[in-house]
């Protein structure tokens, strides 16, 4: 019978928190890669591709992330590929993240006055040039605060990967609780772990929002 000291609990949670961070980063960068081309497609305003993207967004925003994880876990296995919880969690969280990022970014671009496009076109810039040199730099300023805010949702979303058996912060907490029978301490520390990751992001997002909003009103 081994006994767990407080230090053992803390050490194991810290080790597991690395996986929470890694999964969050994977989902966020994966989501960015999936979202960017789809944002471009949205801007073309072609009918059918846009409908397909709307459905994609509705599917991922209108269903539980837990179900998406289950479907990724069992769905990929249907093709005879053995998936690890890590792969399934990365896949599901990447798609989930991309669905929200498309919305945020398209919203940021559309928030710019139409005159920006028209003025650039009048000045003889090509559509691509207008997008990259005029629209995107401004849209970035609008979109950054909600994007950072959404990163908090991604970090919290990774906690559900514990349910398909991926050992990150929450799963480590469950395991430690089962051996130590100290749920108050263990889950308190798990919650603290998430808070330490998410709170700075939340504050940064609020700061960015204030900064760019202030710039807007002058």
């Amino acid at each position: 019978m081994t006994t767990f000291t407080d230090w053992d609990i803390l050490r194991n949670l810290l080790l597991a928190a690395r996986w929470t961070l890694l999964l969050s980063l994977t989902a966020f960068f994966g989501g960015t890669l999936v979202a960017m081309p789809l944002v471009m497609v949205r801007l073309t305003r072609r009918r059918w591709p846009n409908r397909a993207i709307s459905t994609y967004i509705e599917l991922f925003q209108g269903t539980p992330l837990l179900m998406q994880l289950f479907l990724a876990f069992f769905g990929v296995a249907l093709f005879g590929i053995d998936v690890s919880p890590w792969t399934a969690a990365s896949l599901a969280l990447t798609l989930y993240t991309s669905a929200f990022l498309i919305d945020i970014w398209v919203g940021s671009i559309n928030a710019l006055p139409k005159g920006q496009w028209e003025a650039s076109r009048c000045l003889g810039l090509a559509k691509g040039q207008t997008l990259y040199r005029v629209v995107l730099p401004q849209a970035l300023r609008i979109g950054i605060a909600p994007t950072v805010g959404f990163a908090v949702q991604v970090v919290k979303g990774t906690a559900l990967a514990s349910i398909i058996g991926f050992v990150e912060l929450t799963k480590a907490g469950t395991i430690l609780n089962n051996v130590t029978y100290q749920p108050f301490k263990v889950f308190g520390l798990v919650a603290l772990g998430y808070f330490l990751i998410c709170y700075p992001l939340s504050r940064y997002s609020q700061y960015l929002e204030k900064k760019f909003n202030a710039a807007h009103h002058h």
Partner: protein, 221 residues
């Protein structure tokens, strides 16, 4: 080898899914009503004069918004009995959802109150209304109307999040899906059907709440 999907094999299990769906709906209705009420209370507190209570409420909001729902649920289910507070799975699930939505809706409603012109408060007070009357009858309705779509989205997020309470053995929709999965081993089929049920529920909930908003709050939304 790839296997054939077998949806008809799920047919005998539809009463279980339906029962689970009903529990999810009940849980959502109670959590939404209670959570929004909690949010109105919190927003009133946070918009008033700074006090120890309003600061404490601010801590609660930040704590909940920056930790995952599943951890909050585990803390309540496994942690609270340690303090001598015994809860059934259903009570714990509802409590977790209430606390969660309470925090988010506080922030959303407060944002609506913040942009309400100060003159509204002053006008209400000048007309002889008390502070709470001014808040409830003058300031709150237009504030709610302004942030109503965001509030609806948050309620739907809480509904979708309720799938997590299956993990503490509360017998809602996801729990039913897990049960059927363990009996039939038709994992993908069960979860696909369940996902579509959630999708239908979220679409219906949005339409219903937005229609209710148009009726009770009037105009936009």
């Amino acid at each position: 080898m790839t296997e054939q999907l077998d949806f008809p094999a799920l047919l005998p299990y539809w009463p279980q899914l339906l029962a689970g769906l009903w529990v999810t709906i009940q849980l959502t209705v109670m959590a939404t009503a209670g959570g929004v009420a909690l949010g109105i209370l919190g927003a009133a507190l946070r918009s008033g004069r700074p006090s120890a209570l309003s600061r404490l409420w601010g801590c609660y909001v930040e704590l909940i918004r920056n930790t995952p729902f599943v951890v909050q649920l585990f803390f309540i289910v496994f942690g609270l009995p340690n303090l001598g507070l015994k809860l059934t799975a259903g009570e714990a699930a509802l409590l977790a959802m209430l606390i969660n939505l309470g925090a988010y809706s506080t922030e959303i409603i407060r944002a609506g109150i913040q942009v309400t012109p100060k003159g509204q408060w002053e006008a209400g007070r000048v007309l002889g209304l008390t502070r709470s009357q001014t808040f409830l009858r003058v300031v709150l309705p237009p504030s709610l109307k302004r942030i109503y779509p965001a509030l609806v989205s948050q309620c739907i997020i809480v509904m979708l999040g309720s799938s997590v309470v299956s993990q503490v053995s509360y017998e809602e929709l996801t729990f039913a899906a897990n049960l059927i999965q363990s009996r039939t081993f038709l994992s993908f089929e069960v979860y696909l059907v369940t996902t579509l049920i959630y999708l239908a529920l979220s679409i219906a909930m949005r339409q219903l709440l937005l229609a209710a908003g148009r009726k009770w709050l009037g105009g936009t939304a």
